[in-house]
């Protein structure tokens, strides 16, 4: 399930420098370029996604995130973005540190494993969840870490990362209403604006 995260544009200063780590097809960067006039670069490893970026005229750099981001200088970007990639990286906590070393601010999105659908799937079926948002079998999935937004916030606290904003996304009823009451149960995607 792809949620609209256009609201993060408000968190990004017009004309600023943005690095999108794991930029996919470059749609977000294209929108930020057109709407906020940012100077943006996307990092991506998938050839098909890279082609989509080139077709959009988005700056895309072929780079394996698991090999680190050492080539980017400290505080060389205003914002470093990472959408739906954290759960697929070998060492998410180190990548978070890198994001806030390179960028003044970080924006991170990830699937919330605490959602009732995944809980119900595991709880009642006794099988690892295969949902619209986590649409892979356990043995062949890019998603190698499963965590909830509460886990993420505990990690932020432990690593002295400030949460500037957060948004919980869900779709359909009653999820969109109930997510404010039981966020961990009804949030599908969590979006965080971070600084250090």
């Amino acid at each position: 399930m792809n949620h609209n995260i256009d609201f993060i544009e408000q968190w990004i200063e017009p004309g600023s420098r943005v690095l999108d780590v794991g930029c996919g097809d470059g749609a977000l960067l294209a929108s930020l370029r057109d709407q906020r006039k940012v100077l943006g670069y996307g990092l991506e490893i998938d050839p098909k996604s890279i082609s989509r970026c080139l077709e959009k005229g988005v700056n895309v750099i072929e780079q394996d995130l698991n090999k680190g981001l050492k080539n980017f200088a400290d505080q060389s970007f205003d914002t470093v973005l990472m959408t739906h990639t954290l759960q697929a990286l070998r060492y998410p906590h180190l990548v978070l540190d890198e994001i806030l070393r390179i960028g003044g601010k970080g924006i991170v999105t990830f699937p919330n494993f605490g959602n009732w659908r995944t809980r119900a799937y595991l709880g009642f079926r006794g099988r690892m969840p295969v949902t619209k948002q986590l649409a892979y079998q356990w043995y062949d999935t890019p998603n190698i870490h499963f965590f909830t937004y509460a886990d993420f916030e505990a990690l932020c606290k432990q690593r002295n990362i400030n949460i500037l904003h957060r948004q919980f996304l869900a779709h359909g009823l009653p999820d969109t209403l109930l997510k404010s009451v039981w966020p961990n149960l009804f949030t599908e995607t969590a979006v965080y604006h971070l600084s250090r």
Binding site: L39, L54, K56, I61, E62, F72, S76
Partner: protein, 391 residues
């Protein structure tokens, strides 16, 4: 006539077809980086496609060490197309239906442009070893004079592989307002010591040939075939990958037998191939040009006059960049392309970087590769769309 028809049919829809080289004498003096001025110089070039009405769709193709102006299409009677025919033509990544494509044989080379084999007007004899030393910026300056002659104010893109990529980068610093895009393929901001070492071995091979005559072989009706062939063999090995040579030749024998008790000489396929490549090359390339251009490669250092700071250098540029590398290229390794890309990002320039998986070593930039074709095609397609929309 029947030949022409045959050629056209053979390449219908994908080749620029039959082409003819053109020549122009540039009468403006060209002051070279070494201080010498060429009062005039001749340039051999080819063009493919048509210039649009506001002259905004021109792409300059920069050739590398042994390249020339015949980048695409066929000469009448030739079975082999130009050196980058895979990438230039109707519907190809550098699309001659949409762009006006210019490729020039650079000065100092030996395919019709002024170089060591041309007569020195002061002596009436070939320049030979006396041809003034050149820098990449001299090629750029000469290309700029051709650009004026062709009535082009700004290149839509300057594109080149290897030394060609160095020219594209130099263009972006020397004349930032005269190009919109630079496509830098399998290139580097400067050669490594290992690279210079290979070039020096090649030069030494040429100079060791008794027929080299200190570079004045033409006056003595000699050609240092053996030296030039050896130089090419060394170069050729460095343009391929170990893996590819293994796949292509392995330890296959061309002649003889490795069984004990056999006395006839053994020749490996790779030996035969390299000897053939070296001999063929020495028939059409000029030894002085080889020395001159390998030195140009060695001397190239993009950021030298910017206090050796590539970020400061690239701050001069205003164009957008596409950088491409090939995984098995060890002569201009992907690490060199990453350095270019990182410096461009730090300088705040628009850049995309593509790392192509290939077994073909440095030569990969000339060869068919679906992903490479697609990436270059997508990038230039976006550019063509913008030009056609008048943006």
């Amino acid at each position: 006539m029947s030949l022409e028809t045959a050629d056209n049919q053979k390449d219908l829809g994908s080749s620029v077809g039959l082409v003819k080289p053109q020549k122009v004498v540039i009468e403006q003096p060209l002051k070279l980086a070494c201080g010498v001025t060429l009062p005039s110089h001749t340039l051999a070039y080819e063009t493919y496609g048509a210039l649009n009405k506001d002259n905004s769709n021109a792409i300059l193709i920069c050739h590398a060490l042994s390249g020339n102006h015949h980048a695409a299409g066929f000469y009448e009677g030739d079975a082999k197309p130009g050196w980058w025919d895979q990438y230039i033509g109707p519907g190809k990544p550098i699309d001659s239906n949409r762009f006006f494509i210019v490729c020039v044989n650079n000065i100092g080379s030996c395919f019709g442009s002024t170089g060591p084999t041309s007569d020195n007007p002061e002596t009436g004899q070939p320049f030979g070893a006396d041809f003034p030393p050149l820098r990449a910026r001299d090629w750029v300056e000469s290309q700029r004079l051709l650009m004026e002659y062709l009535n082009i104010n700004c290149w839509a893109a300057v594109v080149g592989g290897s030394l060609g990529g160095m020219q594209a980068m130099r263009w972006s610093l020397e004349h930032p307002e005269k190009l919109q895009h630079a496509v830098v393929i399998a290139s580097a901001m400067k050669l490594t010591a290992q690279n210079i070492a290979f070039n020096e071995i090649a030069r030494k091979a040429i100079k060791s040939d008794a027929d080299f005559c200190d570079g004045n072989y033409l006056q003595q009706n000699k050609v240092p075939h053996r030296g030039l062939a050896l130089a090419r063999m060394i170069g050729h090995v460095t343009y391929l990958s170990d893996e590819l040579m293994g796949q292509k030749f392995g330890r296959d024998l061309k002649a003889g037998d490795l069984l004990q008790g056999k006395t006839e000489p053994v020749e490996f396929q790779i030996e035969s191939y390299l000897n053939y490549q070296g001999d063929k090359f020495s028939d059409f390339f000029d030894a002085n040009s080889y020395i001159l251009i390998t030195k140009m490669l060695d001397y190239f250092d993009l950021a030298r006059e910017y206090d050796h700071d590539p970020i400061a250098a690239f701050k001069q540029a205003t164009c957008k960049f596409l950088v491409i590398s090939f995984s098995s290229d060890w002569r201009f390794s992907p690490a060199r392309s990453v350095e270019i890309t990182d410096a461009l990002i730090a300088a705040g320039k628009d850049v995309s970087y593509i790392a192509i998986d290939s077994d073909h070593g440095h030569d990969a930039f000339l060869l068919p590769n679906q992903r490479y074709e697609q990436a270059l095609g997508s990038y230039l397609n976006k550019l063509a769309e913008k030009i056609e929309a008048g943006q």
